[in-house]
C-alpha cells in the first residue's frame, strides 16, 4: 500500500465543480498553502473546479492561500467561525458585495460537527449558541434542566490537510498548533489529501505517536519546504505572483 502521489497537481485532481472542500489550518498554522495554490493553478488553467463550498476556521489573510483561492472566484460559499482577521479584505469585499455566501458557526461547534461527520454521528446537542442568533431555526431540547441546540454533522468531498510526517499508509503526525482542524478534516472527508514535510516508509512512525491513522487518509504528497502563510503575508506576497 502506497498512498503517496507524485505531485501537487495529482493530489488535487479529484476536486470537481460544486464540491465541499475542507481546508485545514487555524490562521497560518497548518494551512496547506501548496495544495491550495495547486488548486488555484488548476482553476486558472481550466476554469475548474468552481462553485466550491469551503470549510475553514477563517476566511484567509492577505492574498495567498485561502484568501487567494477566494480572490480567484472559485468559492461560492464559506463555512467558518471567524472571517474577521488581520487582513481578510478579499473575503470582506466579496461578502459585502453579496458575491460569496457565509455560514457562520461557533468554533467549537464547527470542530464537533466535523468530528461528527467523521464519526458517523448525524446530529448532537451542544449548549453553544443557545439563545443566540446563530441558533435560529435549529431544534432545541432540554436535558437535565438545561437547554441545548441540535447541530448536524459536517462532511466534505475532499479535505486539504497539512501534516509534518506522513508514512506511505497515510499515518500522520502534525507540528505544534498546526494540528488544529487537520485530523478532524481527514476523518470527515471522502478523500483526505495531505501535504507532508516528509513521507517515510510504513513502520517509521511509532504506532504510539500516530495522530491520524492512515484509514482516514487517501493521498499524501511531499512538500519538503512548506510555505508559512504568516511569513508570506509579512512579505506582502500575492498568489499567483511573486511567491
Amino acid at each position: 500500500m502506497d498512498k503517496s502521489v507524485a505531485d501537487l497537481a495529482t493530489a488535487v485532481a479529484g476536486i470537481e465543480d460544486g464540491m465541499t472542500v475542507m481546508i485545514g489550518g487555524f490562521g497560518g498554522a497548518g494551512a496547506p498553502i501548496e495544495l491550495i495554490h495547486a488548486l488555484i493553478d488548476r482553476y486558472r488553467a481550466s476554469g475548474h473546479p468552481k462553485d466550491l463550498t469551503i470549510v475553514n476556521n477563517n476566511a484567509g489573510n492577505g492574498h495567498v492561500g485561502l484568501a487567494a483561492l477566494i480572490e480567484t472566484g472559485m468559492v461560492r460559499k464559506l463555512i467558518c467561525s471567524f472571517p474577521r482577521s488581520a487582513d481578510p479584505v478579499v473575503f470582506t469585499d466579496l461578502y459585502l458585495a453579496g458575491k460569496i455566501e457565509l455560514e457562520l458557526v461557533p468554533q467549537g461547534t464547527l470542530a464537533e460537527r466535523i468530528r461528527a461527520g467523521g464519526a458517523g454521528i448525524p446530529a448532537f446537542y451542544t449548549p453553544s449558541s443557545y439563545g443566540t442568533d446563530l441558533a435560529k431555526g435549529k431544534p432545541v431540547a432540554e436535558f437535565d434542566g438545561r437547554s441545548y441546540v441540535q447541530e448536524r454533522w459536517l462532511k466534505a468531498d475532499v479535505a486539504l490537510v497539512k501534516a509534518e510526517t506522513a508514512d506511505t499508509h497515510g499515518n500522520l503526525t502534525f507540528r505544534a498548533a498546526a494540528r488544529n482542524f487537520n485530523p478532524l478534516m481527514c476523518m470527515a472527508s471522502k478523500e483526505a489529501v495531505v501535504q507532508a514535510t516528509r513521507i517515510v516508509p510504513a513502520g517509521v512512525i511509532d504506532p504510539e505517536n500516530v495522530v491520524t491513522p492512515g484509514i482516514f487518509v487517501q493521498k499524501v504528497v511531499e512538500v519538503a519546504h512548506p510555505q508559512q502563510e504568516e511569513d508570506l503575508n509579512r512579505a506582502n506576497a500575492v498568489y499567483p505572483g511573486a511567491v
Binding site: 500500500m1 464519526a119 499508509h169 476523518m187 516508509p201 510504513a202 512512525i205 504506532p207
Partner: protein, 223 residues
C-alpha cells in the same frame, strides 16, 4: 447431500473478495480465520475495535504481550504502519464508514438484510460488544456461517426470530454451501457448490433464493 465447506474453506472464500488496501474488521472467533487466507499480492489492513490498525498474526506461545490484543482478547503482533488509538476514535472508524469490509458470524440472516448474531434469547448473560456498531458503517457487511444450524435448521430466513443485531445491514453471506447476496430485500444466489442442486440448496434455505444471473461454481481448495 454433498460435502459442505469447512470453516477454513468458508473463510478462504470470503478472503478472496477483500481487495488490495482494504480496511477490514473481522468479528471475534470464526471470522478471525479470514485473515489467514489473504490472496498473495494483496495487503489488507486489519482493524480491531479495541484500538489497533494493521495488526498481524498471533505471536508464538509464551511471547504474548497482553497489552497487544485484539477484540477477542487474543495476543496479536504489529505490522509496519500500525497505529494505536482510543475506543472513541476506533468506533469513529467503524460508524463513520471508514472500513471497507466487516465480516461477522451469524445466528440468523434474513432476506431483508437483518442480522441476528448477539443473543440467543432471554436466558443467560446478554453480551453485545461491538457487533451493533460494526453492522453500521462498514461499506460492506458480510456474514460467514454454516448454511444451517447444528440441528440442520436454516440460518438464512425470511425474517430473523432471534433478537436483531442490525436492521437491513448484511449485503453478502458466505455459507458452507453457497455465496448469497442480499439485493432489494431478497436472497440472490451467486455461487453454490457444484455438486449441489438448486433444489437441494433451496430445501435448506429458509427463504426463496433468486437466480438473477449466472450461478458460479463455489470452488475452494483443500485447506
Amino acid at each position: 447431500m454433498t460435502t459442505k465447506l469447512t470453516n477454513n474453506q468458508i473463510a478462504w472464500r470470503a478472503a478472496q473478495d477483500i481487495h488490495d488496501g482494504a480496511y477490514v474488521n473481522l468479528g471475534i472467533g470464526f471470522p478471525e480465520k479470514v485473515a489467514q487466507y489473504q490472496p498473495r499480492g494483496r495487503e489488507a489492513i486489519f482493524h480491531t475495535e479495541n484500538g489497533i490498525l494493521n495488526f498481524g498474526e498471533a505471536p508464538p506461545a509464551g511471547q504474548e504481550d497482553w497489552d497487544l490484543i485484539n477484540a477477542g482478547k487474543r495476543a496479536v503482533t504489529l505490522k509496519p504502519g500500525a497505529s494505536f488509538f482510543h475506543h472513541a476514535d476506533s468506533f469513529a472508524m467503524v460508524r463513520g464508514g471508514h472500513l471497507d469490509v466487516a465480516i461477522l458470524g451469524a445466528y440468523e440472516v434474513a432476506e431483508n438484510g437483518d442480522l441476528a448474531n448477539w443473543s440467543t434469547g432471554p436466558k443467560g448473560i446478554p453480551a453485545v460488544g461491538g457487533a451493533m456498531d460494526l453492522v453500521h458503517g462498514a461499506k460492506r457487511v458480510a456474514v460467514i456461517t454454516d448454511h444451517v444450524t447444528k440441528d440442520g435448521k436454516p440460518k438464512l430466513l425470511k425474517r430473523c426470530s432471534l433478537p436483531l443485531t442490525g436492521v437491513g445491514c448484511v449485503t453478502r453471506v458466505y455459507t458452507s454451501l453457497a455465496v448469497v447476496d442480499i439485493e432489494g430485500g431478497r436472497f440472490v444466489l451467486k455461487e453454490k457448490l457444484p455438486t449441489l442442486s438448486l433444489d437441494e440448496l433451496q430445501a435448506v434455505t429458509g427463504a426463496e433464493l433468486l437466480v438473477a444471473g449466472p450461478v458460479a461454481d463455489l470452488i475452494v481448495p483443500e485447506l
